[in-house]
């Protein structure tokens, strides 16, 4: 009566997975080429404004010639009240008060000087040409950006970049 056999039958053929590593390696190489490494996870909230016709900093970044600083509300809201307008600077993941706030007025210029001193010798760009990129939240007060700018001017680091999120392709 039983036309259908429950067990036995043919075992499903084994799939050949020899080329699986190749596929994964291909994926790996794609990601290695198409991405750049994250510098740090900033400790302040940054949602950059949108814009167009900006300069692409990726080539500089791959040569690690840029110093990034972040400006936004601290991720820990309890601390926000300690800062000027409630916005804090993040330099290398260390939250600083804004340029003339809690800690020290020379935080930015000291940080920039340290960064410049630590640059490997193959980077020959003088201090005034080393780009300092300000990544600020879209609600951040511009006064703080100008405070940063003043600090950079004092030590003759004369190139600043205002980060945005580019809407266009070019």
């Amino acid at each position: 009566m039983s036309k259908f056999k429950k067990d036995g039958g043919k075992a499903s053929p084994q799939m050949n997975t020899a080329s699986l590593p190749d596929i994964v390696f291909m994926l790996l190489f794609f990601f290695m080429v198409a991405t750049t490494s994250k510098e740090t996870d900033p400790t302040v909230e940054v949602d950059p404004p949108e814009g167009t016709k900006s300069t692409d900093l990726t080539p500089y970044k791959q040569r690690s010639e840029i110093d990034f600083l972040y400006l936004g509300a601290p991720r820990n809201p309890a601390r926000a009240s300690a800062f000027k307008f409630g916005y804090a600077l993040s330099l290398d993941n260390v939250v600083q008060a804004t340029a003339d706030g809690l800690y020290s007025t020379s935080a930015v210029s000291r940080w920039k000087k340290d960064k410049f001193a630590q640059k490997p010798s193959r980077m020959t760009a003088p201090l005034e040409e080393v780009i300092t990129c300000v990544k600020a939240d879209k609600t951040a007060p511009t006064g703080i950006v100008f405070d940063i700018r003043k600090q950079l001017q004092d030590i003759d680091a004369l190139t600043i970049a205002y980060a945005i999120r580019d809407k266009g392709n070019i």
Partner: protein
């Protein structure tokens, strides 16, 4: 001697290793590119000027934003910030072909090849004079303006005509914001300036070299060809982007 068979290596875990690497890269990298407006900060002056520099009103394009994020361009309130670039275009183009003193926009002057050469020989003798006296700072100053004229001369040669129209040296765009102006407004102003300058240069680039300014710029960023550099220099001389960011007062 009998050959020994090479034992086969089990490659079954190769995929695991590759996956591990892949995951590592996925986690530590970002896809988004860093885009920004790059600006120069003026050098600090040691001795403050005792007198303000006179600038004609027509040469100033003041873009102001206040604490409430309201915009004002040349005394006019702009409710739509995306209209600023049109105004900037007007600022550049009104007197481009013919100077008309009756309007309130910057004038253009005509630069010729003969003028460049005359200035260069003059500066040459001035450099020699300064070096003879031993005033190295003055010599440096003359040398930099010599370079500027030389740049203009090269640009004119590339331009292919005997003369070109040049925007008044003092003409500039001025950004005046207040302390609590949102960064988005500030970056939007930069965006509008960049857009206007791009449009002007792109049009000229199309006309002169029949290619897009964006492509030219990108190619120069990639393989910095001196030919592209001189083209970019020419476009920069034709439509200079002079931006002054005024530090807000407390």
């Amino acid at each position: 001697m009998a050959k020994r068979a090479i034992p086969e290596i089990n490659a079954g875990s190769m995929a695991d290793i590759a996956f591990l690497l892949l995951l590592f890269f996925l986690v530590t990298t970002t896809m988004d590119r860093d885009q920004a407006y790059v600006r120069k900060i003026p050098k600090k002056i040691d001795v403050p000027l005792d007198q303000d520099v006179e600038v004609e009103k027509r040469n100033i394009l003041a873009i102001k934003a206040n604490n409430q994020n309201q915009l004002m361009v040349r005394g006019e309130v702009f409710s739509d910030p995306s209209k600023i670039s049109e105004f900037i275009l007007k600022f550049y183009q009104t007197n481009e072909k013919v100077n008309d003193p009756s309007n309130n926009f910057p004038m253009y002057s005509t630069t010729t090849l003969a003028l460049c050469e005359q200035q260069m020989t003059e500066l040459d003798s001035q450099i020699e004079e300064a070096e003879r006296v031993g005033n190295s700072k003055l010599a440096e100053f003359f040398l930099s303006s010599y370079d500027e004229w030389n740049k203009k001369k090269q640009a004119l040669k590339l331009y292919g005509k005997d003369e070109m129209r040049e925007l008044a040296v003092q003409a500039h765009i001025r950004i005046e914001v207040q302390e609590q102006t949102a960064y988005s407004i500030f970056s939007q102003i930069h965006n509008e300036i960049e857009e206007a300058i791009f449009e002007l240069r792109d049009k000229e680039c199309m006309r002169l070299f029949s290619e897009s300014y964006g492509i030219l710029k990108r190619r120069h960023a990639q393989d910095s060809d001196p030919k592209d550099k001189s083209k970019l220099d020419l476009l920069e001389i034709l439509y200079p982007a002079r931006i002054i960011e005024v530090t807000p007062k407390n």
